[in-house]
């Protein structure tokens, strides 16, 4: 065996060992953080109280009555609630800016996705315009949803959660404003470049490197408030969401920076780098941001702390370790060193550990509280998102196995898988989070609650159709691709009905997003009945505090 392989193997074994020792020592409390951190998101007397700002006052009472009637009369501490009010106010501006940009990009991303989807089964439609050819509108779709919608939504929700979790008003909000605007300009220019045909040519890294500088700077600026607030935190322990968000905001600039150094990468090495980045963008950027939100909102809405704090830490560190090395599975069967692929497969299978840690934790928290889903639109989105995380991850581990990968590689099956991850999981969690935080940010109730249900059913049905049919179509395509006795064109023909079904699913999702965007802007512009005070403040003490504060600031 080559010395390099032995070295790599040893590094791997040592790191796994180190990880295990590390997690064990944490669970023994050797580093000082104990399970009390899981109760940190509740103020005194607040545990047992449900919270969903997307509900009307009557719905909220029914929800509380159904879940835990006894807790309704618990009294909360004035000072702590006041702290949270100040915290919410401090983050409202930057969070609103990020979320607004996210919703705008979601709209354009959906349109681009629809066009790309239709072009695959209508190849002679709209072919005269070069800028909208499939090979451009498809990467435009990916880049808009990844860097426009998902990143802005994730960062917006993170900015909103940070002051709450650290019980400290957000510091350095102006860096977040500046960062968001720079990032937004970057995404706009990047999308324009791809449409104009100026692409770097690597999946997930299409933006020209000149534009990447803007994203690098913008991302860095948006991380500054996190650091500044952390340095001034008033809370003793870091809640698990802070671990996820903090790491994600540290990881992303490194990933993005290394991947975009011009004139450095070449040939097959560039391919390994490409999938080191491509999968880490999912694993070390979107996934932690999504999980951070799920870890906060699920217990918060239900009014119960997460099942196991130690499990959540195990989940965090094992995710960081295993997820960061899975990218090799994108090159199975390709001209890359075999150890590289084997490592990718091994780590992909090991991903079962962090996934189970999250699954057990989040589902045990929800277990016995499933009726909460009936009441809370926030929770419906987030819990389904968390379930999709488990599904997508287990599916991903399976897909990395050589025998399965042989069929699914190079097919639409992979595309369906990508959507159950970034849409079914991440976007659903973000939808739910936005429904929760917007009433807090704007101090206005969602004007048309029925639109929330409409949005939910449109996108749930849409992604269901999308995922199921495209997975079947992709699998059939893969079987034909593997059968050398069949002409290649059979593999194209077999997918066409499934590609049409995908457009149908995508159309429903797009409709859902339009409903969501209209509702979002109706709220931001304060349409609809003014039920603000009850909606936002829930109990009267909160209201008094708010009014007092308003008088002080006026």
């Amino acid at each position: 065996m080559d010395i390099t392989v032995i070295l790599l193997l040893m590094t791997f074994l040592v790191s796994v060992g180190a990880l295990m020792v590390f997690v064990w020592s944490m669970s023994k409390g050797l580093f000082g953080t104990g399970p009390e951190a899981s109760r940190l998101i509740f103020d005194q007397g607040e545990q047992g109280k449900i919270e969903d700002p997307a509900l009307t006052e009557i719905q909220r009472r029914a929800f509380q009555q159904d879940m835990n009637p006894a807790a309704a009369n618990q009294h909360s501490m004035d000072t702590e609630l006041q702290e949270r009010l100040v915290a919410d106010q401090s983050s409202a501006g930057p969070a609103l800016l990020c979320l607004t940009l996210a919703v705008i990009w979601l709209f354009w991303g959906s349109i681009a996705g629809m066009i790309a989807s239709m072009k695959l089964h209508l190849p002679d439609w709209w072919v005269a315009s070069e800028w909208i050819t499939f090979g451009r509108i498809r990467p435009v779709h990916l880049n808009i949803v990844a860097y426009g919608w998902c990143s802005f939504a994730g960062v917006g929700i993170a900015l909103w959660m940070i002051p709450r979790l650290l019980k400290t008003p957000l510091r350095g909000a102006r860096y977040a404003y500046a960062g968001a605007l720079v990032w937004h300009v970057g995404v706009t220019l990047g999308v324009a470049s791809i449409l104009a045909g100026l692409s770097d040519g690597l999946e997930w890294l299409e933006f020209p490197w000149q534009v990447d500088i803007l994203l690098f700077a913008g991302g860095g600026l948006m991380a500054v408030p996190l650091v500044m607030t952390l340095l001034n935190r008033k809370v003793d322990h870091l809640y698990v969401s802070v671990w996820y968000m903090g790491a994600a905001l540290l990881w992303f600039p490194v990933l993005f920076g290394v991947a975009n150094i011009p004139n450095l990468h070449f040939g097959v090495q560039e391919a390994t780098m490409n999938w080191w980045y491509g999968h880490n963008a999912l694993g070390l950027w979107f996934t932690p941001l999504g999980l951070a939100a799920a870890y906060y909102f699920i217990p918060k809405v239900i009014g119960k702390p997460i099942h196991s704090y130690n499990l959540s830490l195990l989940g965090f560190w094992s995710l960081a370790f295993f997820y960061s090395q899975v990218g090799g599975h994108h090159l199975i069967g390709g001209p890359v060193p075999s150890w590289f692929i084997t490592m990718g497969i091994v780590q992909s299978v090991m991903m079962v550990i962090p996934v189970l840690a999250v699954a057990i934790n989040q589902h045990m928290t929800v277990l016995g509280n499933f009726r909460a889903l009936k009441h809370s639109p926030t929770l419906r989105f987030i819990v389904i998102g968390a379930m999709m995380y488990t599904l997508a991850s287990v599916q991903g581990s399976m897909e990395s196995l050589r025998n399965v990968n042989l069929v699914t590689h190079f097919t639409h099956y992979t595309v369906a898988h990508a959507h159950i991850g970034l849409y079914g999981f991440f976007s659903f969690v973000m939808f739910g989070s936005i429904y929760f935080v917007m009433p807090r940010i704007t101090q206005w109730e969602w004007p048309y609650p029925k639109l929330i249900s409409l949005h939910f059913w449109l996108v749930t049905l849409g992604i269901g159709i999308y995922f199921i049919w495209l997975s079947i179509g992709g699998w059939l395509q893969g079987l034909i691709l593997l059968d050398g006795s069949k002409p290649f064109m059979d593999s194209v023909a077999v997918t066409l009905p499934y590609l049409e079904a995908r457009s149908l699913g995508g159309g429903l999702m797009t409709l859902g997003h339009i409903v969501f965007a209209i509702h979002f802007f109706a709220m931001a512009l304060r349409f609809g009945p003014s039920r603000m005070t009850q909606a936002v403040l829930g109990d009267s003490k909160f209201l008094n505090l708010f009014l007092k504060l308003k008088r002080v600031t006026a």
Binding site: P123, T133, G267, P335, P337, D483
Partner: protein, 214 residues
């Protein structure tokens, strides 16, 4: 550092150490290993000017989103060989490739050796103008913007007119290839990696020291 900020210390060092490990294994090690894999002793030539321009066109039109450039090893699956897509590619085949275009989809066929299967310039030009004229049932986009449609009477000597099948030709109109279309086809016609490589030498991207020729 305040004692209270020990959590942050753990977070930053732990997170960055893990990312550094992944980056070393997945980016730095391949860089060091593959830097030595030269296509010495093979028939691989650097791209010509026209081929490079064509390659940029390939990138610009996003061909990579439907076409891979990596025939697989028959030991893994024999279909690629049976379809005549060429021998399994090795790392040195990509020596001149920036950006790499290995691809992740086979909505269309693998193009690593398309020049061997389709050596006709006419076929490629016509196929780009209207894929369904040559491959019924294809869902590849048409690229009419890489061509000019002019009255047949205005055709000059230096024009490259494409010969469409009768069903797709319009009488009195000539379809003329633009330089961009010609460059793209020049690149496609350079896609031939069927020259022999010694298995286990170029085949494994981790050559033993003695096999590396400088």
């Amino acid at each position: 550092m305040k004692i209270g900020h020990f959590d942050e210390f753990k977070l930053v060092t732990g997170a960055m150490a893990i990312l550094a490990l992944a980056t070393s294994i997945m980016v730095v090690v391949p860089y060091l290993l593959l830097d030595k894999v030269h296509p010495v002793g093979t028939a691989l030539k650097p791209y010509s000017m026209a081929e490079l321009k064509g390659r940029n066109e390939y990138v610009s039109q996003g061909c990579v989103y439907c076409h891979s450039q990596q025939p697989r090893d028959p030991a893994f699956n024999s279909a690629d060989q049976e379809r005549g897509w060429g021998r399994p590619s090795v790392a040195s085949d990509y020596f001149y490739d920036r950006p790499h275009l290995l691809g992740t989809m086979r909505t269309g066929p693998d193009l690593m050796n398309i020049a061997v299967r389709q050596p006709s310039k006419d076929w490629h030009l016509g196929h780009l103008y209207q894929p369904r004229a040559y491959t019924p049932g294809s869902n590849m986009p048409a690229y009419p913007f890489l061509f000019e449609e002019i009255p047949a009477t205005e055709v000059r000597k230096d024009h490259v007119v494409i010969n469409l099948p009768p069903d797709f030709a319009v009488e009195g109109t000539a379809v003329v290839a633009t330089p961009r279309a010609l460059d793209l086809v020049a690149y496609l016609l350079a896609m031939d990696r069927t020259y022999p490589v010694i298995p286990g030498l170029e085949g494994d991207a981790m050559p033993k020291k003695k096999t590396v020729k400088e």
